[in-house]
Amino acid sequence: MAIILLIEDDAALQEAYGYVLRSIEHEVVAAYNGKEGLEATKRQAFDYIILDINMPIMNGLEFLRRFQKRKPPTTTIIVFSNYVDQDVESEALAHGAAKVVLKSSMTPSRFLSILQ
């Protein structure tokens, strides 16, 4: 049982992935863009942050840049996006992401195996 911040702008994916994570007793906080994500991290600490890259208002890379300094060592960030070229991947990893996962190769239950 972990506390997870799910930053994803698509409501359908937010619901589907949130549902699966909650079904195995994780606590999930939803944020729909990087800005909401940052605010959530000020309120509480998370074990995992699952982060989309292409989002309105504040994108995932910008979130990483701003969050990097405050990131507690116990928080694991997993980037979860369709926009993964070499630049995005290396920039995400350089700014504190632990792993980059291609969204199109995922289903909610396959995603669970990555968290473990």
């Binding site: 699966v20 369709n82 070499q86 909610p108």
Partner: protein, 547 residues
Amino acid sequence: MYKSVRWYVVVRLLFLLAIAVPSAAALFIFRGWNAEVQRNVLLAAITLVSNVLFYALARLQRQNIRYHTYLATIWIISDVLLVSALIFANGGIESRSPILYTIPILMAAAIFGRRAIYLTAAGCAAMYSSLIISDYLNIIRTVGAYNPELRSDLAYVINSAAFFSAILLVIGVAVDYITRLLIQKRQQASTSAIALARAQEIAKLGSWEWDIKKDAIHWSDELFRIFGVAERPANFDYATYLQLVHPDDSEIVQSTIKKATEQKNRYSLDYRLTMPDGSIKYIHSEGRPLLDAKDKLIKMTGTVQDVTEAHKLDAVKRDFVSLASHQLRTPASGVQAFLALLLDGYAGPLNEQQNRFVKRAYDSNTRQLEIIENLLNTAALESGKLFPKRQPVELKSLVKDCLPPHQLKATAQHQRLNMKTSKEKIYVVADPALLQMAIDNLISNAIKYTPDKGRITVSVRQAKSSAYVEVTDTGIGIAKQDRQALFKKFSRIANPESQQVSGTGLGLYLAYNVIKLQRGSITVKSVLGQGTAFRIRLPLASGRGRD
């Protein structure tokens, strides 16, 4: 312009030798070293020095047409002044004067055309008028006492003015007539050339010819416009041409032309140019060899077309495809997530019928996502945004990871999907994601075009300096005439069996180009009705066994 100026230098030298030097010599012989001779020698010396100076200036900037226009104008004016000074030095107007004035008139005509003749003639007329008026004023001033001698002086001035004006007019008209005749003749000869030039301008298409032995290139005017070259270079050779090509494309241009000349073949190539203002032009070039009777290559000839506009439209189209695909992907991913939730039992167990239906929906959705992925990759590939990583990849484990998703599909069609490989690890330098995409496309194709209960084998091996991935099936096969177009975009084979198979015609196109980007190649062998084998060849990573 440079040639006209050089022509004038020669005429001036002839003039100097033929008129100024003999006249000074004659004066010296008959009258001794007096002031008149000294003036003549001085003028000849000034002409000689200015000649050398102008010639040196003309050589300085061969390319700049405006520079030469200014130079020629200054030169003509200084010549008119010099000639006038010479006439004054020799005691006013006399029979030689019109001959001297012919020189600047001829030069102006040669350099600036007919309008210049009238300008020069007007300048000369003004000069004459001032001479005549000054003579006339001299007579008026001394007219105090009526003197029949002076009256005859007045008559002399008026007569000579009329005489020289008439001669100048004749020279002007004659030069004008000859110039017009020459222009007309040139126009007649070049009516078709003008029509051709206009056609080239409209089509933004230029033609060229390259004499290989002399290494001399001839371009049509339109080509200079396309390449943004203001004036024809004096010696236009292959090296000069290469400097105009975009630095990133220079290598492909050189290798293509080298291959075409060596094999005496036609070529067709798209490349870029950097304009003087820094903008980029896209051009399409076609070339073919010209051979002599002994089959020896003498020239290459061809066309170059400015396709920048078409390229921009293409970019707009690609951007649209890319944007539309991105937008389509998000909802399609949402559908997939929820179907997967149903299939994985998150909403409770499904009965057999429900499970079958949801499975169907899930498969269709997966295919939809695959198509979107292929469209996005095609758009990225064609706009040059697909930059493959270059890292060591262990080929056997990469291929092994490709298989599971296909295994489901193959099992559903009662096909056997196997992998065959040797024990040792095989390392290539490649982009794992792109390589996987290419192999996925080959396997998914093999499954599609192989009937139920067929067999698909994926083998990985290495030989010499290459690694090979071979996807062999026992499918419907590909006819010989269809193999040519196999790797082209949207190519779908027109036989009844393949019509039943869905596809975008992008899979093989992408696989082919993605492997090419990684310095490898794809070849195909097939027997109609028996099966097909696609083979990917990749260069081995040097220093095997690295991690």
